[in-house]
Amino acid sequence: MKLERPDARGRFGEFGGRFAPETLMPALEELEHAFEGAWADPAFRGDLDRLLKDFVGRPTPIFEAERLSAQLGFRVLLKREDLAHTGAHKINNAIAQVLLARRMGKPRVIAETGAGQHGVATATAAALLGLECDVFMGEKDIERQSLNVYRMQMLGTRVIPVTSGAGTLKDAVNEAMRDWVGTVETTHYVIGSVVGPHPFPWMVREFQRVIGDESLAQLGEDLPDVVVACVGGGSNAIGMFYPFAGLGIDLVGVEAAGEGIETGRHGASLGEGSPGILHGTRTYLLQDADGQVQEAHSISAGLDYPGVGPEHAYFQDLGLARYVSITDDESLEGVSLLARTEGIIPALESAHAISWIAKAAGELQGKTVLVNLSGRGDKDVQQIAEARS
């Protein structure tokens, strides 16, 4: 059964928890109480709802993808998170957390970012609400998502390059955590997915469930048979899945198979990993026998992460959702497919979900499939052009 909230220790079954340095523990307790208070406070909810409506542009539409449906032979619906302000679902969480940070009296926020979408979303919310903002981004990601680096800088955010490790999302999270250990009294860490120590996985899920709640309201009686979303840390997926879980709908999360599962160069932590502890939470990880966390690999910076949100680990073990994977090459085909049939260039992350429904067309015949289109692909155009050449 899905859990309304994790237990007192922040656990979803055996996953989650709060494996953080002592220095951060009081701040995590403070955050948990602040979030509980804000979430139950109609004034905070009213402020957030207004911003989601007038600033972000919610509700995002559900689009009947007719030409794609005709080509694949089954009905495809797209939840258009790509139409949210700044171009991805990340803004739902970022704006809520920055609003919470302001309520907590923290003048500064920090964030990690992979694809840059969460960094842009946090920079945007910080500009809107008047907070100082620093974003940690791996060197490799700065290179492959340079457009988003400029966007953050235009918004008044300092982008801090992270050179440790492979220079990707995992390293950016490490560096943001390290900053937070030193600045915790005046800074809130706006984590970008349903990962990290309790209360982050729960709080970010609550901030992202607007995707699924809205979809249910928009669809009414016309429920889909299958709901599909890509999974990096898992925030767009859990935001979509959570309200649908327990309704007898097939929930499918799509991880990055990178260069191919068999090459070992992928980001399929649920499919190929084992339980362990990373970034403050117990979840499925790509790791060796000694507990050293392995580098993930994906063409898509947002899915290039060797861990995953603990609630997905819980969903997988209970069979509440299932998790599959799509390679780099397949995801590029997903970009073309959606661009040419529907006039929508999806983010490389979201293209993993699109590509999976095309690949699984055989088993999806006759069904209605709702895909969470988590973001738009503008940020990826240069990278896609290079990958094709």
């Binding site: 340095p21 390290r178 009294e185 362990g276 502890i277 790791q287 000694d290 392995q294």
Partner: protein, 265 residues
Amino acid sequence: MSAERLRLMFAARRADNSTALLPFMTAGLPDPGHAVEMFEAMAGAGADGFEVGIPYSDPLMDGPIIQEGGARALAAGVGLEEGLEIAGRVIARTGLPALVMTYANVVVQAGPDEFARRAADHGVSGVIVADLPLEEAGPIKAAVERAGLGMVLFAAPTTTEARLRRIVEAEPVFIYGVADLGVTGERKIASSRAGELARRIREVTGIPLVMGVGISTPEQAAAIAGSADGVIVGSALVRRALEAQTPTEAIASLATAVREFRAAL
């Protein structure tokens, strides 16, 4: 009982009214072949015990110097088994107590009981896990104590009175007082928070108190020495091990540095 060795050391330092010097060093520096010799040199220079770092891929409590130390050790093939072997040989050769310092995933993948048993087999006295707060410590602390080792718990400048009371009630073998906000690393100026934290801890317990994080000069160590049973010096020493051009230079440089810290305490 390996933890006993550590308790006896603290008792001896209290008896002669001095402060224990506990150097932190990543296992496998300056290279795996010279690691034990480097610890021996630090013992000869006046160390009272050691914190031996078992490297981990994602050390989020560590600044750039110890990150680099860990990355170098991992690249040289030092994992849990190699790290414990180095600790064991250091303990056998120097007769000093040593703790191992690592991160939760390393313990959990080995299995807490298996981890503790192997550490005990190598004569290790205690375990420090940087990302293991009291709330998550239960199973690991129990396994460590079943094996006769001591578990260390942290208290930080941000730790509230209520948390501090619970940490004390759990009876760690010593309390690691986090001397400064922030991750490990060298600091130009000693934190003004260290003294205040030490005083708060002393007020509520007689459990040995060891201060660490950001203590990078003999002067900084001396300033806090009076309020603690021991001090941990890490980044300032690891930096010397990393900067040295040869293992011989690293060993000499570490001996000099430890002698300077010892003299200041």
